[in-house]
Symmetry: C3
Subunit: 210 residues, 3 copies
Amino acid sequence: MPHAEALLFPLSIVALVVAAMTAALAAGRRSMDWMGVAMLSSITALGGSSTRDMLLGNYPLGWVQEPYLLGVTTAAALATIVLAPVIHRFHKAFLFLDAVGLVLFTILGCSVALKLNHHFAIVIMAGMITGCVGGVLRDVLCNDVPLLFRAELYASVSIVTGLIYVAGLSNGFAPDLVALVASAVGLTFRLLAIRFRLEMPKFVYERDRG
Amino acid sequence: MPHAEALLFPLSIVALVVAAMTAALAAGRRSMDWMGVAMLSSITALGGSSTRDMLLGNYPLGWVQEPYLLGVTTAAALATIVLAPVIHRFHKAFLFLDAVGLVLFTILGCSVALKLNHHFAIVIMAGMITGCVGGVLRDVLCNDVPLLFRAELYASVSIVTGLIYVAGLSNGFAPDLVALVASAVGLTFRLLAIRFRLEMPKFVYERDRG
Amino acid sequence: MPHAEALLFPLSIVALVVAAMTAALAAGRRSMDWMGVAMLSSITALGGSSTRDMLLGNYPLGWVQEPYLLGVTTAAALATIVLAPVIHRFHKAFLFLDAVGLVLFTILGCSVALKLNHHFAIVIMAGMITGCVGGVLRDVLCNDVPLLFRAELYASVSIVTGLIYVAGLSNGFAPDLVALVASAVGLTFRLLAIRFRLEMPKFVYERDRG
């Protein structure tokens, strides 16, 4: 996780913590032990950026370079265990912070791919992978069909955020401003999607064999 | 995906499209939304070669270098949604094209590993990974035990194809001829396996604890 | 797998064989065919070190450099099929050898990361990934929630073993002695955990939505 953007860095730690905490709750629903909770949380929170960097060959990975990030995700997981009895009261705060995490991870992912001079489409993909893959890993390890493939415009929010971010930068606007606008639009889109239960049309195919 | 073999390149696009379409049908059986269909299709179609390149440290990955491949897989996924009502009529064409895809991906995978001067056994593995891993990713993301591990000589076809290809090249035959013969044998083997429901013996172990 | 430690190398082959055999039994419980058994065994036995090396960007991977390792895992898988009718008699030997494998893989993983001059925390992680990820891949491919996240202090044993190994080396003790002591403590810890059914406290969270 690059320290370049002064604005993005503290927010990205918040995003990391929220991703770890949502994963910890998923782990708790499957009665994992404390170590399992910590592992699932770390994989979820750091899995998106790690996958992006492995696909792009961008070594060393963020947490390998800054091992304290593992401490952050582990602490967030353990805090979730402690806070579990009251955590449902913060349900709405979680949804909000999860949306913040999605747009921030997306922008951070785009920004990494831009620095590596990748093609426009790869930059958008890098943002989407950073924002979404952690949750896919969480669901696969919890033995679910990933939510990402089924619901709630998660990936679409990531793509829209990435498109605005890349378009803004390539038109010469100030990076901080562009990040702010892209985040605001992505966040609004995500919250509207949750509020009004917006969904993509589903593809239902019911024959047994294709 | 290297452009070296003039013969292989257009066929490999066909293979990519077919892999994406079969994944789209699998996604439809799980009622994924359109974005999920596009993602599952892209992961399935490009996952084999991406896994091979990540295991071999062969960067950049094909789709990172040629982003239009993502457009091909996405278009194939969306076309599948449109064509869904009539697609079952082409069931046999699908099985045939899927077999074509398997042998082509295998040969492309072997060819990449050969260029990197890998050991004979690694070349065969690279072919098998390119041919088979996409389907494993599809099944894991759909929350199934991978078909690959249970049925239909899929991996065996890949190994036979790879062996003929490597043996032919190392005996000095013309690459195009070798690719053609390996494809023909592999394809025949696969179609016979489907036609006569050939299967490997299964290993059934029923004690609860090993 | 580095040949550096004369003591570790033969033992690591034993660990590889045991990991392949336990995976073969898991494959047998899902009625996989022989090829599927061989593939699942190889992925389980070599998946931990491969994941570590891909995360650290440490190419080429062990089995790519030493392809005979694929022969070892395949042979172990096929031997398991042959030995299946009597294998339950060796249940306790398996549990013991599996514990040996865990501590050996851990130490080998730490040793690789140490040679790459990684941070202390990353060295411990590298050991844990090498020791534990193979089993996670096995469980995901068998469509289970990974045992690792739920039971038996597996990861904890790996961390304790790694901590002793790293602490010993950084205090200047002889590598062979340190490896021996770390193995002995880790093995004892693991066997006590099995014997007395020691478990970490579980985190149970039962609300539907976090």
